[in-house]
Symmetry: C2
Subunit: 582 residues, 2 copies
Amino acid sequence: MLRTHTCGQLNISNLGETVTLCGWVQKSRDLGGTTFIDVRDRYGLTQLIFNTDSDAQLRETSRGLGREFVIKVTGKVLERTNKNLKISTGEIEIQVTELEVLNAAKIPPFLIEDETDGGEELRAKYRYLDLRRNPIRNNLVLRHKMAQEIRRYLSDLEFIEVETPVLIKSTPEGARDFVVPSRMNPGEFYALPQSPQTFKQLLMVSGFDRYFQIVKCFRDEDLRADRQPEFTQIDCEMSFITQEDILNIFEGLTRHLFRHVKGVEFEDFPRMQYADAMRLYGSDKPDTRFGMQFVELTDVVKGKGFGVFDNAELVVAINAKGCASYTRKQIDELTEWLKRPQIGATGLIYARHNEDGTIKSSVDKFYNEEELAKWSAALETEKGDLILVLAGQTDKVRKQMNELRLEIGGRVGLRDKNKFSPLWVVDFPLLEWDEESGRYHAMHHPFTSPKPEDIALLDTAPGDVRANAYDLVINGTEIGGGSIRIHDRGLQSLMFKHLGFSADEAQKQFGFLMDAFEFGAPPHGGIAFGFDRLASIFAGLDSIRDVIAFPKNNSGRDVMIDSPSTIAEAQMNELKIKTTVS
Amino acid sequence: MLRTHTCGQLNISNLGETVTLCGWVQKSRDLGGTTFIDVRDRYGLTQLIFNTDSDAQLRETSRGLGREFVIKVTGKVLERTNKNLKISTGEIEIQVTELEVLNAAKIPPFLIEDETDGGEELRAKYRYLDLRRNPIRNNLVLRHKMAQEIRRYLSDLEFIEVETPVLIKSTPEGARDFVVPSRMNPGEFYALPQSPQTFKQLLMVSGFDRYFQIVKCFRDEDLRADRQPEFTQIDCEMSFITQEDILNIFEGLTRHLFRHVKGVEFEDFPRMQYADAMRLYGSDKPDTRFGMQFVELTDVVKGKGFGVFDNAELVVAINAKGCASYTRKQIDELTEWLKRPQIGATGLIYARHNEDGTIKSSVDKFYNEEELAKWSAALETEKGDLILVLAGQTDKVRKQMNELRLEIGGRVGLRDKNKFSPLWVVDFPLLEWDEESGRYHAMHHPFTSPKPEDIALLDTAPGDVRANAYDLVINGTEIGGGSIRIHDRGLQSLMFKHLGFSADEAQKQFGFLMDAFEFGAPPHGGIAFGFDRLASIFAGLDSIRDVIAFPKNNSGRDVMIDSPSTIAEAQMNELKIKTTVS
């Protein structure tokens, strides 16, 4: 090795040793003829001193060192006078006797420090420099640890990691498939998997019993703030199990990860029905770090002559604890925020529970003190609280109130990044109505099984059929989702029929799976976790971008390597394709 | 869980317990009113007995069970009278009291047994059934264990697993790139990586110090018997190291894997220079399970009037131990085999060391006893040995002799699948001449560094420049290869120039990497192993196909899912591409 130790390794126990370190110049300063340099590597930072009275060459070279030069130094470990007890090497320094510049460095375009002056675009272009910064590198080290712990937990439970193919088949359902022209089969295309769903089910048919994979998946869709065209899934499947078994095993995985990587223990790991999540939080992924549950006031407020409430399908309220002091202006701003097209509320009603015990609302014209006392009782307000009320069509008003609840929760400091609140949401609907196409879509995917007792409803009330489907939610973010699958050809055909497939289409696209079900398919089910998102929660980040080494931007571009890019005519000819862009 | 135990779990210590098993019917037989059924899962096989005198329903159902039906049974663990000590459950059986058919099965198209009657095509179409067979499933379990041990070894040495992107940039060098049209960037394409080479080097520039990844790579090339369009690499890179460090650490990984997965210890782990490998074995990946090294006879045989030898650049021989008994017919067949276009030899000369001590050659006209005694001495023959000689242009004749040596080694049983012989081949040439393009190509890749002492030769004798490059060879198969990389912009530019890139082309394609070298790139190097091939060697297989769950055939097709396939016009329109296949 070029070095004897790393820059994070030496301490007081090494005093007097002659050591060799390699690393990057973090900073350099001259104090009365002595040059001090901090040298950095992945493991830490070590102070070097160059006492160069006797060595003109060393003085010369050490003074020429700029930030980010790569150096190799040999010297003796001495005790420091000015100790820095914040870092493990802070009690020592190296008196350098030999210095070699392994590589010079131009001045980097932004500071390689925990807090940098580089803008997002510049850092993306020089991602390899941004990755030198501790916070970014630490995210990737954290991600590595998580991956190893996931594998350890699952391997210990006899799960087998099996690699499924990346070059698979495009499906008409897969409008968002990336496709890959085949040179050997001109005119034909592979698709990149949006998930290994059918392959993991086939592995169950093969008797693999317990499968997992940490695997790249791909989706060619418009990238919202927190999506990437390629993302990583922790993909799992088991045979001969019930939903209860899956919830237990993957609650176990979640606890294992938080324990071994974050040192966090969960007291509770609650379960909530989808219907309750929607009623109490207006969301299938409620942030349960804080309460502020919805209280439905519909029955309480109707019939007092206030049209907005009288005509509403649902009137729902939350208690914004301690927010009675909000000024009229603040409430007006909140109302404007709610009226933005992204949220689309028509207005906000409020009632203050004042410090003097009175309750004053924005609709006092319709509701007297006695009526408002009912509101207060329903919402369990105390002096200083603020009741916020929305009214309208049930689904819409729940979505709006969900946004409002999260906003208020954030404002009053209830969404602490260092607090973790996990939740299973269960009993999802099997189907959801899609206005655009005028038909039902599978809420999870077409392979999810309906609850046996609800199958009869498929013909009469498809929207009421519940699925054996479940999501893992942490801090209001969906981390994973899965289901007990259909393992019977007849039921799978019925499902495709209800999703609007003709028998021919179903056979053409998923015949291999339905055929497989006829050769002895075991009952099975599974789950997939979004690894990027899970890692971002562990790292305390809002975005997944900085738990990915080389992410793409919102246009799906890697600006560092300048990709995607045009390709040569000859290559297109060989692939027998043409672009239609003029 | 649906079961209390697996089918491989119960033994004599469970006698009297009431248990529930789930699995597939392996076979069923009726013996005097008692039905015996073997039920199978991933973990093993358990014998069930149905003593159905008292239960007509159970009798009915158990008799209706066909092969591969999925069942759930409950019953009591009894001691067997006819014990089968070959399997862990062979001392017990289950007296079944409850039987549930979880799924029926059609008669499978081939036998689900260790030895099957299914042809290759049929098994590929029903891959999910072929995967039920123990030998295939065991390969994948083995592969899983290898992957976990690789991660354990490297993680313990502070390597970090970092995921690099799958959607990257196409390069003109990458004629065999798979490309992916971008919907968001019409007319532009991503490429799938042939390896994460540049990204892992950037991670070194970022200070990651030790990186690894078990990662899918892609190559769109004509598929020989043992290639797949998608394959898996164990990809590793380190900073601040020498070639010696890399050889030691990855010799360690190889030893670790063989020890923990195969229970095999290596005595030797030799190193051989490329030039010696070519001279002694005619190959840069010699099978060192056996000797039979080449002996060059050029100087010994010249000048005796035999034109074939006199005109040859190289005359080379091997000693086929114990093969003197080969008949003339056998030797003629061997000669014909050597003359096939794939090998292209012009003829085969031989000399028998007979049991009576005489040596008789096929060229006795030119070589008397005294001369042949020199051959015998050079090849250290004994009675019963056969000398085989080829002559011609050095490179060609070495290749031919390599084929012959492997063939003879196989025939005399020296290529034992249960013996493992590792070898480092080092000091590869940096460049190799490509007849077709009339220029030098990088033998490894353009990022490989030349030996410093050979840099001066780049201008005068490029073919003689040696690289800091090394391959790991096991049993004549290249398992891994790597190099110390260039980390200096100047040298990298020079390298591109020698490979025929213009400065512009080099900057356009690899500018991001050369730019990165200017911001403080550490000395670094690495290695990549072919994981599929390594797994196939561990499994004792000639092909990588059965260590891959869902492989493609020689036309790059997955015949199970019928991929690649045509895609909808609408999808092509959205991607702004067209096929030019009529």
